[in-house]
Subunit: 292 residues, 2 copies
DNA sequence: GCGCCTTACGAGTCCCGTAATAATA
DNA sequence: TATTATTACGGGACTCGTAAGGCGC
């Protein structure tokens, strides 16, 4: 028996609808069905009467509902009790781009540090597009990253802000990089991330207009892209936020007539497993409160 | 978080000794260590202070101890509440030899049926030596079987009674099957189980005296062995209990001077997974009470 | 050196998601 | 036919046991 099963039971008991409840539990309908079946098997009694059109609590289900509510409340109480006064300890390693460290993280980390001074924060900077791999490999506990196009089951994502991907050129050479003729795009020199969301957005866009870029300089990390663009290596694509925060921003310009790409959502990432850790869950909740 | 972790915590908190506690939990020391570590990670605080010579509760550990006791009590209360008045339902399939059905099971099944009338009992008879395979395959939920020589991690065994393996011959031809010369044993015709504990005991014994039986009739099921022995196919080896209960017992004799094999322990078997089911756990507990 | 808790690693089980099935209106 | 709960099945994560490590007596 585990607390997930109890939580799942409560979700079904309160919605009386497996499909709806499965969403609340972040679970597929079949998984929820089996979770309830396990519980019923362990207790030796049916908790719900369900035909395909209706779900309702049995007598045993009513009794168990009383228990389940109290059990969850008690658990939350002890967690709160143990977690108060910044008693939570441990180590949390957080991976983010330099820009994120400058722009998004200061407030969050300050608040976290104030509430949980005993947690040792381990901050690592690097290219945003590598964060998911590092998470999955267990190298880090959390990351600030772009919302992946293909959501993995193992990764939880918490949106923090939305920005745009902008096409950037050097201020001096602004004229030679023009978007007057979409079909000529393939001949422009590009400075792009080696991989990641921003890169796939650009690739997707270019395919959409039938262009095939041949002159691409690949860089790891958005900040590096701007440095290369400033040197005249080509047109870069970065999140607007990165451009605003760049020390090179006065030497760069957003290109006139450039196309609008899909919004770029930046948020906090972690694995499901890590979310069970108090130190990680605390950061998550804090970010959630500040994001809404 | 699951209830096993809480139970494990209680065991450590009450013994203040990981090794001792790991036995109580039926767990290896390393598994228990990790179980406590998971809990601590989830709560964000150390629950025990341990160097290699001493284990003691932290402040958080003391608080959590109060919670854990109550949580386990509450869980047991709800289980008892739901289980009373024979409310437990479900299906339990039980596999046993015919002899077991006649000798061991009547009392147990009667008591079970009286306490849990809603559980549908599914009784299947067959050769004892096949029970473990059927358990592992999931064909059945429980079995009456001999204590396996090599205990599997998946199987739980509850001893019910101990009997002896006896060498049996036909009453009429008792004289031709004699144990006067141990070294001549290999020339005796045997009627043995195809596999299983009784078979391996005999094989082991024969190897021990340097004999190699060449004339073996293999049978599945102890009751069948006696039938073959009665027909004069050779010397059989069966649990004494089976002989006593056999309708052929007047036509058979225990051989004089036959060697004593190791005791043969008969008990109830099931898988760990099945023990989580209320209907199975109830049978287990009932058997436990009657066995002590 | 021995005892005891902990980490490393390989293996097996359990659980989830996808897809197919049943059943109802 | 559309909707909803349930089974079948394959893949992957999690936890276990064995064995090696580390620290204190």
């Amino acid at each position: 028996m585990n607390h997930h099963e109890i939580k799942n039971f409560l979700a079904v008991a309160e919605t009386l609808h497996f499909g709806r409840a499965s969403e609340l539990c972040h679970l597929s309908p079949s998984a929820l069905t089996r979770s309830i079946q396990r519980l019923e098997s362990e207790l030796g009694q049916a908790l719900f009467l369900r035909d395909n059109r209706q779900v309702q609590l049995t007598l045993a289900g009513e009794k168990f509902y009383q228990y389940a509510q109290k059990a969850v409340r008690d658990w939350e109480d002890i967690c709160e009790d143990l977690g108060e006064d910044g008693e939570v300890e441990g180590v949390v390693s957080l991976y983010a781009s330099v820009t994120a460290v400058y722009s998004i993280l200061p407030d969050l980390l300050e608040a976290y540090r104030a509430l949980y001074p005993k947690v040792r924060l381990n901050l690592r900077t690097g290219a945003a597009e590598e964060s998911i791999d590092k998470l999955l490999a267990g190298d880090i506990d959390m990351a600030v990253a772009a919302l992946p196009d293909r959501q993995s089951d193992r990764i939880d994502f918490l949106p923090l802000l939305t920005t745009h991907l902008v096409f950037v050129g050097p201020r001096a050479g602004g004229r030679e990089y023009a978007f007057s003729d979409m079909h000529e795009l393939g001949r422009l020199p590009f400075v792009l991330a080696r991989s990641g969301v921003s890169r796939s957005r650009v690739d997707q866009f270019l395919r959409g207009v039938g262009a095939h870029a041949v002159r691409i300089t690949e860089v790891s990390g958005n900040e590096g892209i701007l440095a290369m663009v400033r040197l005249g290596c080509g047109v870069g694509v970065v999140p607007e936020l990165v451009l605003e925060r760049s020390p090179f921003r006065d030497d760069l310009v957003v290109l006139d007539g450039a196309p609008q790409l899909e919004p770029y959502v930046v948020g906090l990432c972690t694995t499901r497993k890590n979310l069970a850790r108090a130190s990680v869950a605390a950061m998550w909740q804090l970010a959630q409160e500040r994001a809404q």
